[in-house]
Symmetry: C2
């Protein structure tokens, strides 16, 4: 297979299809989404059979249990895909929304219209549910999509592709609206991220290594999510009960998510009182504690933290703890080590809360709430394609709106410039 030629063809089809889906009305897009859901429902056996092929060769190739787990398509997982398609169909369509249409002194009306990005390329790991999720969000936001899932999921993804195509066909939309790359050749990724003539944006989902590699090599804008080294700062004016609840929830509600707290900062005046109470609860949940010297003086079984700990996203039951003098030292620490994902202050002090909100430079900044809330569903976006740690375009959870952009529209009545 000539991967270069194949990808150029995929790109060209996507570009042509993007012009069609970009002007397709909400009703037809919803018809396609619901028809995909029906096709998936009618293809349960075929999907599970294809997934078994992937699981078998995954086991043969010694895939780690965690990866096999993500790869597996269970009946409940298929229900989730169908449910997801119904949810996206119910979301409001952002395309065509006109805002800020105002008259200017010259007499023209100037406003902004929300429009699709065009062609979105998505590169992700071997999680078949992402195929449906990404395709549905891009379609609803009027974009053509090129999906490149992990090679271990190739059979599952091809089976899903059949269902997606049936949905597109039923709605009278061209195949090019959603294309799932048919080759597992890695060169396909290299092509996908270097075709600015066909692809408007790349969204990589996966480990930090993958995302850094793609960002470095891409000749197309990338909406990326690097790591989530999130902080909770317990201020000396914190309500103690709120502080304990938030610090426990932010770390232990789930360990493997990007919005989990990785470092706890605590103001010195209340450290001696609160840290032992927190340590007791963390111990009960088998969370390993690594602390600065002051922390270790209070929590005797804490392991001394190294410089590396402050910059680490553990994604595991491990927590770094640092005692700080005040909000300034806390924000300095965050500025130095944070991955600019999500940070929380726990305080009852109005002025300090305002300062934290304004001065902390992260995609989500919170007061008296668990970092675990940093999520498209919790923020009311309806769904999310990822969480951006970039500053430009989309920052934080990215929903349908993040998959669109705005153009200016000008309405005149024969106006000329003088």
């Amino acid at each position: 297979m000539d991967v270069k030629a194949y990808m150029a063809d995929v790109g060209q089809q996507a570009r042509v299809a993007s012009r069609v889906i970009g002007k397709t009305g909400t009703g037809i897009k919803n018809t396609a989404l619901l028809a995909m859901a029906d096709a998936i429902d009618a293809s349960r056996d075929a999907l599970i059979a294809a997934n078994h092929l992937d699981l078998e060769s995954g086991r043969k190739n010694g895939l780690e249990p965690a990866l096999l787990d993500r790869l597996e398509l269970t009946p409940a997982g298929i229900n989730g895909m169908i449910e997801g398609l119904h949810q996206v169909a119910k979301l409001p369509d952002p395309v065509g929304t006109i805002t800020d249409l105002t008259y200017q002194p010259s007499g023209i009306q100037v406003g902004k219209m929300r429009v699709p990005l065009g062609v979105v390329g998505i590169i992700y790991e071997s999680r078949p549910n992402v195929t449906v999720e990404a395709a549905s969000l891009c379609l609803k936001s009027g974009n053509a999509t090129i999906l490149r899932g992990g090679s271990e999921a190739i059979n599952s993804n091809q089976a899903i592709a059949i269902c997606i195509n049936q949905g597109l066909e039923k709605a009278g939309l061209p195949k090019g609206v959603v294309q799932i790359i048919e080759t597992t050749d890695r060169a396909a990724v290299g092509e996908l991220i270097t075709m600015p003539e066909y692809v408007d944006v790349i969204i990589p989902r996966g480990g930090k290594g993958l995302i850094e590699r793609i960002s470095n090599d891409a000749k197309v804008p990338v909406i990326k999510h690097l790591d989530g080294n999130c902080h909770v700062y317990i201020d000396s004016a914190a309500d103690k009960e709120k502080a304990i609840n938030i610090a426990i929830n932010a770390k232990t509600q789930r360990y493997g998510t990007c919005n989990t707290m990785e470092t706890l900062l605590i103001a010195e005046p209340i450290a001696a009182e609160l840290l032992p109470l927190l340590a007791e609860q963390y111990r009960a949940k088998a969370v390993e504690l690594r602390g600065c010297a002051k922390t270790c003086a209070i929590i005797s079984d804490a392991i001394p933290a190294t410089e590396e700990d402050w910059g680490t996203e553990y994604l595991a039951p491990i927590l770094a703890i640092k005692v700080v003098a005040d909000i300034d030292e806390a924000m300095d620490h965050i500025n130095q080590y944070s991955s600019e994902h999500t940070e929380t202050i726990v305080t009852e002090n109005y002025s300090l809360a305002q300062r934290f909100l304004r001065e902390v430079d992260s995609s989500s900044v919170m007061v008296n709430a668990s970092t675990r809330f940093a999520d498209g569903f919790e923020y009311g976006l309806g769904a999310e394609i990822g969480i951006s740690t970039d500053k430009l375009h989309a920052r934080g959870p990215v929903g349908l709106e993040g998959l669109t952009t705005q153009k200016y529209i000008v309405l005149g009545d024969g106006h000329i410039r003088t």
Copy 2:
């Protein structure tokens, strides 16, 4: 001079200063802008003397007259710089604006806060007025700036730098808020665009070659403006007087601007009636006409257009003209050849106007108005740092808002996720 070490130092200072200016209130920022204006007013002689040095060596080095013209700092030009600073001081400050703060089912409030981008690097040609313009817009939007002007303007820019520093000092702001690169070594540009740890975004202003080179080599997001190959489509349902006024204004009001029409598309049913009237006016203004076969059959002195003409931004009194069957052929032509800057339809037909607005994929899409309106001032932005032909982040004229981004803020009262 060790350019790498120098630029790393500039970058580091900018990063530190960005944290200061990012939280500086509107009043202090305005104080700095007005103090810069005063310093420029008090330094007229020094500025003109420095500029003379640049003009002299420019003439010695055989700089083209048009470039010498842009390089020259006249008393009127200095007035313009002062006036510009006063205008930017009067603009509303976008930083800190909170929008969409709404309660979610969990009880948390989620909203968006507008925040500076951080450090903005600006690379531009030898136009000293851009130094003041760019510095003032970045400062007002809470960013630290690193400015790299054309080497031919080095003395003028260093003289301006003194005034800018005086303004910063008067407002108690660190020097790192606005830094003007002191070396003319081209390696400085290479460093500036590859320091993602210090620079958040690069805005190149200048010729297409410069911008393409920077976009290719940058390891930092670029807000760029490539060419402006703008179209006017005169529909068969056009009001003839509006059509003629717009087609003449869009081409001839100024030839060298990016929002000038370069190709006129006209519907066949009215071509025979309108083209001769238009040709007469264009002829009177010495505009060279290059037409498709049908155009040449109507306008006998039009030169046959080649394929290359459809893709060219002339920036000169030359116009390409094509007769098309209808709006579909017009939009196909635009989709194929446009640089996605600005396109206008002239029509009285409601449905066709709506289709054009929705389906044309350019940064500005207009109905019954001259393309020359595509401009930050005309759009009410107060000022513009450039016009983006990118799709992500900022599209079209970029004002203060385009120099900021939004982060999520979450207000809770001890909320945890369950």
